[in-house]
């Protein structure tokens, strides 16, 4: 038992419990919905999950530092529209350049958030609530309330969501989930293996200690917001690919799904702990519940209420489990070496 405690961090246990919950949720829906276990369901859910995941991994960085970015929905909406408009006029732009454009726009918007939070010392919830409205307003102004229509887009972008990367029977891994997966893996390594990532944990874990340890928190926080914006920008391009038609209302309310995914995934909303893997599992859970409720033809309002209920249940269960387990799981004793040993040290 001690060995398990030593080698399996509590976080892994948390993620494991999310997987269990996910299996239970799928079994319940499978029981309620006819023809649930089909490739079609899988593809629908996986494209929704892909979008949420992409934005949620960026959000994870921000939440780790005790902040939150509520403007991501508007950033997704704006970049989706802007990129759609741009590609309809410049059909020969390469996919990579278009993605770079989308990410730069998002990064710019994230940078504004980050500077205001880190250097302006305005609470993140206030800043991003404001920019959420402002970025949406900019979109309305820029678009002149017109929409981007699917027929204006080049074929490659329309076909992107159907592009299959891996195939197993009729189940395929399509391009959108594949991109989200790659992004998640990159961010997973960023948080686990770079000192930038570790410092984000440190800042969220104890801002005071971070300051005394000489960590430049404002710079790190700004960078976290910028990366979060860049991921939302990329999310905007994929949103365009998936839906084709982009109105000024695009991705409105997505920030709530994203924050929900992050929190359900066990990223502490008070900063300091959580992983990309958790956030991704959270996104899968949220996406699955949402799409399955749509399949059940449940009224829109009830769908949102049920989703809300699921979030509260998931987070409460997680809190209770973790609070019960933490003291027992991470018990560490200070052992002294025999006297002669440290006399030599």
């Amino acid at each position: 038992m001690n060995k398990i405690r030593r080698w399996v961090p509590l976080q892994r246990l948390r993620e494991f419990s999310l997987v269990i919950i996910l299996i239970i949720v799928v079994l319940i829906f499978g029981n309620q919905i006819d023809n649930y276990y089909t490739p079609r369901t899988f593809n629908r859910i996986s494209s929704t999950v892909a979008l949420i995941t992409l934005v949620a991994v960026g959000q994870t960085l921000v939440v780790l530092t005790r902040n939150v970015d509520l403007s991501v929905g508007s950033v997704v909406g704006f970049t989706a529209y802007y990129v759609g408009r741009y590609v309809s006029k410049n059909e020969d732009i390469s996919p990579v350049m278009l993605a770079a454009l989308a990410m730069s726009i998002g990064a710019g918007m994230g940078l504004i958030n980050g500077l205001l939070v880190a250097y302006g010392r305005i609470p993140a919830i206030v800043v991003t609530l404001g920019t959420m409205a402002i970025y949406r307003g900019v979109l309305v102004e820029y678009s002149d309330s017109k929409s981007v229509a699917t027929r204006q887009l080049p074929d490659w972008i329309k076909e992107l969501p159907q592009e299959s990367i891996l195939k197993y029977g009729e189940y395929e891994l399509r391009a959108l989930p594949a991109i989200a997966l790659v992004a998640a893996i990159i961010f997973f390594f960023l948080l686990l293996y770079t000192s930038f990532g570790r410092r984000l944990y440190a800042i969220g874990s104890s801002p005071e200690a971070a300051n005394l340890a000489g960590i430049r928190a404002p710079r790190m926080v700004t960078l976290a917001f910028t990366l979060c914006g860049a991921m939302a920008g990329l999310g905007g391009m994929l949103y365009l690919a998936r839906f084709g038609t982009i109105t000024v209302d695009a991705a409105r309310g997505m920030e709530l799904q994203v924050v929900a995914a992050v929190v359900v995934g066990g990223v502490n909303i008070l900063g300091g702990s959580g992983t990309v893997l958790g956030a991704m599992l959270g996104a899968i859970l949220i996406g699955t519940i949402e799409q399955s409720l749509i399949r059940m033809n449940i009224n829109e309002f009830w769908k949102d209420a049920l989703l809300g209920l699921c979030i509260i249940i998931a987070v409460s269960v997680d809190r209770i489990l973790i609070n019960q387990l933490t003291p027992w799981w991470s018990r560490t004793e200070l052992q002294r070496m025999p006297e002669e040993h440290h006399a030599a040290a």
Binding site: Y193, F196, G204, E208, N211, G272, S330, T332, Q335, A345
Partner: protein, 503 residues
């Protein structure tokens, strides 16, 4: 001490608002010495540490490193110069594991984390200290002694040249202290300059080479430890000008209002015993962290005691909430009035009526503002609160007037027992005297008063009896006539009793 000084502090001053935290102090640290810094609460030790570690910048004066002036703008720069500090309350990152906690400040050298190497290096550093800790475990929930070990490991791993230790032994057992001193001696042998801050005089005499005393932000003395006696050190620490402080007049001692028997709340305080009479002021003296506020919080029901008996007005009671305490006539005026005493954006009137707002409702439950106004006006005159308007936000007032508002708010609930926590901290001399006069008048009217204060002249002038605490223990109760600054300070740092306790 043939070597050149490693770090010199020259004529450094620092002011916060009207308070002079440091007035032209100097301190020299030589490589391979343990230099003890002594001083009462508020002597300026913490400010000096923060200046040495780059958290505060001095208003004037200079810092010399190996003879060259340096300026420190943040703790990263201080660390680059080899200056590190271990704080009284260790500041670990609860969500990071122990290895990361040790090396967090180093990571700028390498943008990628190599976990295997990190764990091995962390184990090596801990082995140097002669301890074994699971370096993969999160720091959350680590006992204080282990957290301190992590902090020391952190400092050692950084090639530290100057190590500041702010009361490192405060939370350690005797065995752990012995171990820590072994580490300190090793560091000294390695040529590190150590600034050692402790309230435990016997420890200072055991480990230090030189001793410096600060008082009220001023440099008092530096001497080799052989030339210092405990008596002289205490005299230097407390030799404060008494000035024209208001002295409480004798008041008739009435019945016992509060009697406390064997009151304990581990680990904050244990076995506290006293009686408090109507019309009496009982001073509660001791150093920061002695557990005085915790006793007050237990009596006010915020952090109830685990063991012991409280008898109030002849009946044994269990105090479990501030609401209950207030209803019974026990009120607490907190030390931090801006955070805990007042609602800063609210008007004076609303602040004063807040705890008793129920009494200001009309039949349909609406608050009657005219009645509130009358009360506020009453206290404005009685306590001479200086303000242009009673509808001004409380946050705009000076510290002394704010304190009067807090007092008004609680006096308006007609208490029998008034607990004051540092009632005159941070307020100017004039307002201080007014608060002292008020305490005097309340005692004359028969109120029982428990007054926590770190200001020794205040304690001596205002109390009928003085209870001294040290590290959660009651060191004794002194009658007013037998107490002096020296006896109180000696009890607060455990000077006379320390040896007996160590036996």
């Amino acid at each position: 001490m043939t070597a050149d000084p490693f770090l010199e502090i020259r004529n450094v001053s620092k002011q916060f608002g009207a308070t002079k935290a440091l007035e032209s102090v100097s301190l020299t640290l030589y490589p391979g010495e343990v230099h003890a810094l002594l001083g009462e609460n508020g002597a300026g030790k913490s400010t000096l540490i923060k200046i040495m570690t780059g958290i505060y910048q001095p208003d004037s004066g200079e810092i010399l490193l190996q003879g060259r002036p340096i300026s420190l703008h943040n703790s990263a720069q201080a660390q680059n110069h080899g200056i590190a500090a271990i704080y009284q309350e260790p500041l670990v990152f609860p969500d990071l594991n122990i290895a990361e906690n040790i090396f967090i400040s180093h990571q700028r050298r390498n943008p990628m984390v190599r976990w295997g190497k990190l764990y091995r290096d962390a184990e090596k550093v801990l082995a140097q200290l002669g301890v074994a800790l699971d370096v993969r475990a999160l720091a959350r929930g680590l006992p204080l002694a282990a957290q301190q070990t992590v902090e020391i490991a952190k400092a050692i791993s950084m090639d530290v040249r100057v190590l500041i230790m702010d009361e490192p032994t405060a939370s350690l057992s005797i065995h752990e202290v012995k171990h820590l001193f072994g580490l300190v001696r090793n560091l000294r042998k390695a040529g590190v300059a150590i600034l050692f801050i402790s309230h435990r005089l016997d420890e200072v005499f055991e480990i230090a080479d030189r001793v410096t005393v600060f008082r009220d932000g001023q440099f008092i003395s530096t001497a080799p430890v052989a030339e210092v006696t405990p008596e002289r050190a205490i005299q230097d620490m407390v030799g404060r000008e008494i000035g024209d402080i208001f002295v409480k007049e004798p008041s008739p001692r009435g019945d016992v209002v509060l009697s406390v028997k064997d009151l304990s709340r581990e680990p904050r305080f244990r076995n506290i015993n006293f009686e408090l009479h109507a019309g009496e002021v009982l001073g509660l003296a001791g150093l920061v962290g002695a557990g005085r506020t915790d006793v007050a919080l237990a009596l006010f029901g915020i952090a109830p005691a685990q063991n012991g008996h409280i008898t109030y007005l002849g009946k044994e009671v269990r105090l479990h909430s501030p609401k209950q305490a207030t209803q019974m006539g026990i009120v607490y005026v907190p030390e931090d009035r801006r955070q805990h005493g007042l609602v800063l954006p609210m008007s004076l009137t609303a602040n004063i009526s807040l705890p008793s707002v129920k009494n200001y409702r009309n039949q349909v439950g609406m608050v009657q503002h005219d009645k509130e106004q009358t009360t506020a006006e009453h206290y404005r005159q009685q306590l001479t609160i200086r303000t242009s308007s009673l509808s001004m936000p409380a946050g705009k007032l000076s510290g002394g007037n704010q304190q009067k508002v807090v007092l008004s708010k609680w006096l308006n609930t007609n208490p029998r027992l008034l607990i004051l926590d540092e009632p005159t901290r941070g307020i100017d001399v004039g307002a201080k005297q007014e608060v002292h006069r008020l305490i005097n008048n309340l005692a004359q009217q028969g109120m029982a008063i428990l007054m926590i204060s770190s200001d020794l002249p205040e304690v001596l002038a205002m109390s009928d009896r003085i209870l001294v605490m040290r590290e959660g223990q009651q060191m004794g109760i002194f009658e007013r006539h037998e107490a002096t600054q020296e006896t109180i300070m000696a009890a607060a740092i455990g000077q006379t009793l320390e040896r007996a306790a160590n036996e």
